[in-house]
Symmetry: C2
Subunit: 162 residues, 2 copies
DNA sequence: ACAAGAACGTTGATTGGTCAACTAATCTGC
DNA sequence: GCAGATTAGTTGACCAATCAACGTTCTTGT
């Protein structure tokens, strides 16, 4: 029994660990925590705040961007987007103006401060992505991406429920 | 400009999609939603409730299991575990008794109802895992597991933060 | 034996994520 | 042009996840 407890305690013998989704969730949570920690240190931002700034900063090749385009592209919940955006506008990092052609839409752009913050943090986060990619081989990366595609497709099927 | 918006709207051109973490998070969220939906249909349980039941049901090869062993093995937050466990005890699916040898620890076991529910849902969830695994090739699975191991290790490093 | 420290579990607070209802504005077909 | 359907964004409600603080109980070192 003691052996059994140890087998569970070290986390390697539990049946749940054979579950792919379990491993995925754990790794994703840790990567998330890492990104959160980095952003708190270098920018004082939460991950979601930064994601919104990154979306705007990346999309603003030519002029302001529509909120709905960002939420759709990133599959971001529009409710949460609306709330987080509000704080970013209040802190002066993002500028939102109503589209004169369509009074429903918000045209978003980074303020000078927001752009500066984006310019400063974007390379850092890109470097992290590169560092993460560098930890796995090219074959693993290709297989990982392919596997993620297939798992994502499978996650949208309904046949698994009896 | 219109082309640019479309490029973003269809979700394939945005730089963020090259981020591995982005893909991981999306896939994980969808798998999570799928599991949640299945469990709601077949058992009326939330995913976290079921995970606790599954942990207890799996670990109870010989006798009741200690709470702390489960939270450690599954890297489950003990605060959340405590709260969710409380609801499971209240609904009569889990039995918790104080260890007479150590009055701090809770010894957990499934009630008859809990065991019946576990016996009924465990094959379903295992079948889902098998179905998910079947969507990817053996090479992809090995690479995926290996990549997850490496990414998990990388997520615990601090060198990425400047 | 006893003080310092660690482990167990509870609770509170904060944030993230999801879903649904709702208002306001625009588009569509007739 | 006008009624009905769509779309944009806000708000409320709820659950999951993480962190910190705390009381209680055991363990350890001296």
């Amino acid at each position: 029994m003691k052996d059994d407890l140890n087998r569970e305690a070290d986390g390697s013998g539990l049946d749940l660990h054979q579950f792919l989704t379990f491993r995925l969730a754990r790794v994703q949570a840790k990567l998330n925590a890492q990104a959160t920690r980095i952003l708190r240190e270098v920018a004082g931002l939460s991950l979601t705040q930064w994601r919104i700034i990154a979306l705007i900063g990346n999309a603003s090749g030519d002029g302001p961007t529509r909120s709905a385009d960002l939420t759709r592209a990133a599959e971001f919940d529009k409710g949460q987007f609306s709330r987080k955006l509000k704080t970013l506008v209040e802190t002066g990092l993002v500028v939102a103006q109503v589209d004169e052609r369509d009074n429903r839409v918000q045209l978003l752009s980074l303020s000078d401060a927001g752009q500066a913050l984006f310019d400063r943090t974007w390379p850092t986060m890109q470097a992290r992505q590169a560092a993460l990619r560098a930890t796995i081989t090219a074959e693993e990366r290709d297989a990982l991406i392919s596997a993620l595609d297939k798992l994502e497709a499978a996650s949208e099927r309904t046949e698994f429920a009896p």
